[in-house]
């Protein structure tokens, strides 16, 4: 029982984890992206279509990464180079993504693919309870954990990571020391958008191997909220995403065993839970020194440099 629940927790948490990581990479550079929801849909549809026509899941993942990156570049151009309002641009990106995938996905509804198989990690998957819960997942789950480590290493062990963080904290100072602020921000938006797309393709290639209009169902927004909970830190994002996954798994489990509670009420739980987590995280942030990137949400214009 417990291993089933843990297994479902990780599965439900993984798409959120990819998206949260993407959001962290972007926000660290100073760019808020409320278009994650739309990017997840782009990733989900492009991955699904690729898998359907080529039969290659590997190619599907690659395509979904680059397709989301391409669509995410609109947000990059508008907010980084044209200094447009990040909130409005992000919301437009979500609308654009919903509309675009509804249009191109209209022939895909009802088709199925054979999604990712479980990959048993030799040795580890034989451990009782932990084995079936943690080490018998599909490859994308392992990839998401790998990216958590990579993002963490990038930010704290490489000079590019340091530069990127300084661009998000104080772009004028970074510019003065010779860092190309706009280029770093644009790169962050591109990579972050790609990661959000991977979250989407997890939905259509592994979680439920089909395409459904608007199948991200608010996960992109939950990811944006979890960034605050995670304090812009990728390891904490892992905890946040699995916490969310746990609530979701529990909720689905309760539906499956047939409680008398309405499924519509149970479906609210993840959102209520996310709001509560956000409140607690904000209260904690208000107390100590905030890890929020100093220039988050502000456009950078060299001429305004003081």
């Amino acid at each position: 029982m417990i291993e089933i629940l843990l297994f479902a927790t990780i599965k439900a948490g993984t798409p959120i984890l990819f998206a949260t990581l993407g959001a962290i990479v972007m926000e660290r550079s100073g760019i808020i992206n409320l278009g994650i929801e739309g990017l997840m849909l782009i990733g989900a549809l492009s991955g699904f279509v690729t898998a359907l026509y080529t039969g290659s899941l590997f190619l599907a993942v690659v395509v979904s990464f680059f397709a989301s990156m391409a669509v995410g570049s609109i947000h990059g151009i508008i907010t980084v180079y044209l200094r447009g309002n990040q909130i409005v641009s992000g919301l437009s990106l979500t609308m654009f993504g919903i509309g675009l995938t509804a249009l191109f996905g209209r022939g895909m509804v009802g088709k199925t693919i054979s999604g990712f198989d479980k990959f048993h990690i030799p040795g580890l998957s034989k451990i009782p309870v932990i084995g079936p819960a943690l080490f018998r997942h599909d490859l994308l789950v392992y990839l998401s954990v790998l990216i958590v480590v990579l993002v963490s290493l990038f930010f704290y062990k490489t000079k590019w990571g340091l530069y990127l963080r300084s661009v998000g904290e104080n772009p004028a100072a970074a510019d003065t020391s010779g860092i190309n602020v706009l280029k770093y921000r644009m790169m962050a938006v591109l990579v972050g958008s790609g990661l959000a797309g991977l979250g989407g393709c997890y939905l259509s290639l592994a979680y439920t191997p089909f395409w459904m209009e608007n199948m991200s169902a608010g996960r992109g927004w939950i990811a944006v909220a979890l960034v605050i909970f995670a304090q812009w830190n990728s390891t904490r994002a892992l905890a946040g995403a699995y916490l969310f996954g746990g609530i979701n798994a529990l909720q689905l489990r309760m539906q499956a065993v047939g409680t008398t509670i309405s499924p519509h009420l149970l479906a609210m739980l993840p959102y209520i839970f996310t709001i509560i987590v956000l409140i607690i995280a904000t209260m904690r942030l208000e107390k100590g020194s905030s890890p929020e990137p100093e220039s988050l949400g502000l456009p950078y214009d060299r001429e305004d440099r003081k």
Partner: protein
């Protein structure tokens, strides 16, 4: 190489024509995307225009659909003035619809008191729903964008819960619908169209909001807070109270949109009471430059796209959600145009 320089002044003609140019470019881009998706854009656009403006009935449908956009757009604009983002107008509309439906079906009221009571219930319920985000923002600085947005999903689930559960019409053949409202719980429609007094209510609220935002001290205070919080603090304006008040009123207006939908169009509560009006409201507010009169004009323009988009569902089997594509593109081009209004391109000769 091209470099951009800040313009010292922008011609009025360029400034006013830029949004229209942006909409035009968005339509052209969307046309290419449609073409790529195997849809004839010229046929699609002429179908949209024909359906939304080509007949008296079409125009009445366009005005009908503009009603919830005006109401939610007013709410979002009000919050915008204080640099607050109410992305939850859709949820507030759902909650307002629940309030109005409760009064219509379960309050036992009769006759002329019914509609005002439904109006009040939707106003208060929508306001309280958004007020939650207001209190959280004012007291603990919780990001109102995320709270209002996540609450949309909760509100939609509550409506589903009610229409599948306790409020399901016992004589409704098990469909997820409430019972129909009595005649005195319905807004009067004009001639033989679906356009009803809800539209007039929206216009009245436009003028009330115009006066409130432009001609009163409170409206002025909101503007000051939006422009400079510190200055507002020095001037002795109670910011926390304004945040809660503004989000309450913002949600209340969206709640009234729920009232006008259930009492004026659907005459019952069902899932999908809003087709994403709360999200379109954000574009409306942004395009309208936060002005009440602007909201009225832009809502009608957006409504042409929505009604036209709906008709393509029948004419060309396109999914309803595809109108989001237009909305996203319009905003993209508006944002880009704002850059070109403020900056001009200058050709630089490379210094070798």
């Amino acid at each position: 190489m091209i470099k951009f320089e800040k313009r010292k002044s922008t011609s009025k003609l360029f400034k006013t024509s830029a949004p229209f140019l942006a909409v035009l470019l968005a339509l052209i881009t969307a046309g290419f995307i449609l073409l790529f998706a195997g849809v004839n854009p010229i046929k699609a656009y002429s179908g949209m225009l024909q359906e939304s403006l080509g007949s008296a009935f079409g125009i009445s449908e366009t005005l009908l659909k503009s009603t919830p956009l005006i109401l939610t757009g007013l709410g979002v604009s009000l919050a915008f003035r204080m640099k607050l983002w109410n992305i939850g107008a859709d949820g507030q509309l759902h909650i307002g619809a629940i309030g109005a439906t409760w009064v219509a079906l379960y309050s036992g009221l009769q006759g002329v008191f019914m509609l005002p009571a439904m109006f009040l219930a939707s106003f208060i319920m929508g306001g309280l729903w958004a007020g939650v985000a207001g209190v959280l923002k004012a007291k603990i600085r919780v990001n109102e964008i995320i709270v209002t947005l996540l609450m949309n999903y909760i509100a939609i689930s509550i409506v589903s819960f009610l229409v599948y559960g306790p409020w399901k019409d016992p004589n409704g053949h098990n469909f997820p619908l409430t019972a129909q409202f009595a005649d005195f719980a319905r807004l009067t429609s004009f001639f033989n169209t679906r356009l009803n007094t809800g539209f007039l209510l929206a216009i009245v609220l436009v003028f009330i909001m115009y006066i409130l935002m432009e001609k009163t001290l409170w409206g002025y205070e909101i503007k000051v807070i939006g422009n400079n919080q510190n200055a507002a603090k020095y001037a002795g304006i109670k910011i926390d109270r304004s945040i809660i008040g503004v989000l309450f009123l913002s949600g209340a207006l969206a709640g009234v949109a729920g009232f006008s939908e259930v009492a004026g169009v659907q005459f019952r509560l069902q899932e999908g009471v809003s087709s994403g009006y709360g999200y379109t409201a954000i574009i409306v507010a942004w395009l309208a430059g936060r002005s009440a009169i602007g909201v009225l004009v832009v809502s009608i323009i957006m409504s042409i796209i929505l009604v036209g988009g709906d008709s393509l569902q029948i004419l060309m089997q396109l999914p309803v959600a595809f109108v989001n594509l237009f909305q996203g593109l319009i905003l993209f081009f508006i944002l880009a145009s704002e850059f070109f209004i403020a900056n001009k391109p200058v050709l630089l000769r490379s210094k070798q």
